[in-house]
Amino acid sequence: MDSPLKQHLIDPEICIRCYTCEMTCPLGAIEHDDNNVVVDAGKCNFCMDCIPVCPTGSIDEWRVVATPYSLEEQFRWEELPEQGEVTVSETAGAAPSGKAADDPIAALLAEAHRGAGGKARAPASASKPTVNLYNLGNPIEAVVQGNYRLTAEGSGVDVRHIILDFQGKPFPVLEGQSIGIIAPGADANGKPHLPRLYSVSSPRDGERPGYHNVSLTIKRDDHGLCSNYACDLQKGDKVKVTGPFGATFLLPNDPDARLLMVCTGTGSAPMRAFTMARQRTVGKKSGGMVMFFGARTPDSLPYFGPLNKVASSLLQKHLVFSRMPSQGKEYVQDRMRTEEDVVAEMLQDSNTHIYICGVKAMEDGVERAFTNIAESIGHQWRNLRDGMRDEGRYHVETY
């Protein structure tokens, strides 16, 4: 079997050859010659003991490869090779040995991204994502660290914040990526259930910084096999997970990038991840983020409480409700029109990245709002959008 392997590597341009990693590795998987310090892919078991002891950060490098780089190759390197084609190939059948089960996932994501109106591209400054590290034939087992209800009991909506821990095994996920949850049991044909995709709502370094645990934001669908399974998970339960998936709906690393986020319901998951990632990186500097977030009522809006605590200098929030008893219905597109100046100014800034995530039904309204606002500043929305998308600055994920 030659399914792609995630290989641990050291960046020779950053490494200072202090050999602390080599002395720390419990398996003797790290060695050096006069040129480089290298990791033996045949011995490394991803225990991660070497990561915190490295003073330079050169050791936290990973490449998904069909054939691991040999020690001899690594000894000769003057710089780290770029990630090859293996990871970014999201399309079905790109890897000859790709599991059939990955194909429906690629199709699902393509469908979710259709609202962008063309081939989606990742932001220029986004980190390289790892995808398809675990699949149906080779899932990773996660342990549930917590399951918290985010919406009020009487709100009629049950949205859960579920935290998964991968027990120190590698699961490198970026904000905006999705992971698959496999419900136990088998379908009517006796085959195991296919994974259901959920967008992660935690930043890359973990729900808790440095812990590399992952949170999901899952809404219970009364008839949904997987969402019921997930929403009923208890602390300590073990869950089979695939992924990560998705290589375009990603956060730009450029600190000057501005984000315009439009979401409804659990579409807030990636927005939460983006916001927390920025919160952790920019410190007190302005985050340059604006969010339009729609729900029926405050008590059915996921993360209503915590969101209100995020400083406006980091994130300008527009929480919009469509079922407030004493008010008329207001949807995200309505508020975008009210805040036309804010949106228009961002549309004209080449640092702006737009993210839309939520139910498919929101697409039309949001699209119309953008069209109107673009016209008001003398632009044709379609051209503006296509240009932004080609530059990796326009992203849609709807379901």
Partner: protein, 483 residues
């Protein structure tokens, strides 16, 4: 049950040695503690003591817990006593007792030898903090300021590590020695630090980078050979210190590398390719490559002196006793006793520098120095790659071991960086071509203006390639504006 992995905070002194159950040592350390805080408080300029600094602190000694990052005010840094976990059934790895169980208590016959080694090591730790005390005022960036302070607090912790050993295992003598570690001062006339290199000034940031690269690397080699010790508590202490020491190597190597990078970039932008056009290069506000070479010559030669006499019976005794081993002793494939082995050392024979075979036991210092030279050469090669990429015809080089020495056989002569023996007159005529002159120092000093805006760097140094703890370029490593 004493938790030997996680740091316990049940006393004022964070530790993983069960201090709360060791009343005698706890009491002694608590008595020493105020003096330490006082020393620290007087040392670092007050405004920096109030700043929040993004530092790493160990919460346990296993790899998962020893690097936790967060904002801390330096006086609140959790200095403590941290020993690497005990290895079960550890044996004395070398010397005449090789193969016997490692000592958990001080062996009486080696008590003085051990104490002296610990005191010498302990004396260097506060010494370097004293040398670097004013550098924060001229930090070329908040990133560099943070790295300086990280080095400082860890040197402070290393002092704690040595003081613990003195208090725990050496009774009254040990307590007196520990007090003296706070009494001596770098550069002081009455009570200087024990080793020469720790009484030199660190007047500017290039010196700081050279110091962390060359002088702290001596510390790394010394710690590594003490980590081999048959006295297990010393071995465990030094093993944990080594993980911290790696950060200091990093600050030095990348610091010098970034200075070189900036000079090359500025020369390229100005269309200069001749490194010897010092005036023109200096007009660009960067440090010319020949001056960087001079700084290297100075710090490298001072650091070689730290290894002591080439042929030394003290070193032989310490090895034979199983107290201080060789660099990476556990990876050396020989009998670890060296009773009949020989080693080649360079000496002055008939007015010439020549190689001699001497008993390997007496050449332990020399062997460590050779390992050091090999280790130090690696980074110089990487700096040269930066220069090579820019197409400037220049190479940094380690000078000959006989150059500018105060200790050992070569202190009796004058030699050029190439290793040619010179007369006093020849030396005096060339000194300023090989070592930083007053004018060089003045020029570098003129560049030492602070740059305290997040993400900004002084004119003479390039930004780092990666941030600390994966932080982005604009990260505010020291919250200097909020104090």
């Amino acid at each position: 049950m004493v938790d030997l992995i996680n740091v316990s905070y049940d006393t004022q002194i964070p530790n993983n040695v069960g201090l709360s159950q060791d009343r005698r040592v706890l009491k002694a350390l608590e008595k020493w503690h105020p003096g330490y805080l006082n020393w620290w408080g007087k040392l670092i300029p007050q405004n920096f003591q109030d700043n929040m600094v993004y530092l790493r602190t160990a919460v346990s000694v296993d790899p998962k817990g020893w690097a936790k990052f967060g904002y801390v005010k330096m006086p609140d840094y959790r200095w403590g006593v941290l020993l690497a976990p005990q290895v079960e059934d550890r044996r004395i790895p070398f010397g005449e007792h090789a193969g016997q169980p490692a000592w958990q208590e001080v062996p009486g016959e080696y008590r003085n030898m051990l104490k002296r080694l610990i005191v010498i090591q302990g004396d260097t730790e506060p010494g370097s903090v004293e040398q670097q005390r004013f550098l924060g005022l001229t930090a070329p960036s908040l990133y560099d300021m943070r790295n300086l302070f990280q080095v400082n607090v860890e040197e402070g912790r290393h002092l704690w590590a040595m003081v613990y050993l003195l208090h725990k295992y050496f009774g009254k003598d040990g307590r007196e020695e520990a007090d003296d570690l706070l009494r001596r001062q770098s550069g002081s006339q009455e009570a200087p630090r024990m080793l020469g290199a720790f009484n030199e000034e660190t007047p500017d940031w290039l010196s700081f980078f050279m110091f962390t690269y060359f002088t702290d690397r001596d510390g790394k080699m010394q710690l590594e050979s003490l980590a081999q010790s048959g006295f297990d508590p010393l071995s465990r202490t030094c093993r944990f210190m080594l993980t911290e020491e790696a950060h200091h190597m990093f600050v030095g190597e990348t610091g010098v590398g970034r200075v070189v990078q900036r000079t090359c970039d500025a020369m390229a932008a100005a269309g200069l390719s001749d490194p010897s056009e010092i005036g023109k290069v200096r007009d660009l506000g960067v440090i010319d490559l020949p001056t960087i070479q001079k700084k290297l010559n100075l710090h490298y030669s001072l650091s070689l002196d730290l290894f002591g006499q080439e042929v030394s019976t003290n070193a032989a005794n310490a090895f034979n006793a199983g107290i201080k081993g060789r660099y990476m002793e556990n990876r050396i494939d020989d009998d670890h006793r060296l009773t009949h082995a020989t080693y080649k050392v360079r000496n002055i024979v008939g007015g010439q520098i020549a190689e001699e075979e001497v008993p390997a036991l007496t050449a332990i210092n020399m062997r460590l120095r050779d390992d050091y030279i090999r280790d130090a050469a690696g980074g110089v090669g990487r700096w040269n790659k930066i220069i090579e990429k820019s197409g400037i015809p220049f190479q940094l080089e380690l000078p000959h071991e006989a150059f500018h020495r105060q200790i050992g056989v070569f202190s009796a002569i004058k030699a050029s960086p190439a290793g040619d023996i010179l007369s006093e007159a020849q030396w005096s005529a060339n000194r300023d071509a090989w070592l930083p002159s007053k004018a060089d120092g003045d020029y570098i000093q003129s560049l030492m203006v602070p740059c305290y805006e997040p993400g900004q760097y002084a004119s003479w140094i390039a930004p780092p390639k990666v941030g600390i703890d994966g932080k982005p370029g604009e990260f505010e490593y020291v919250q200097i504006h909020h104090a």
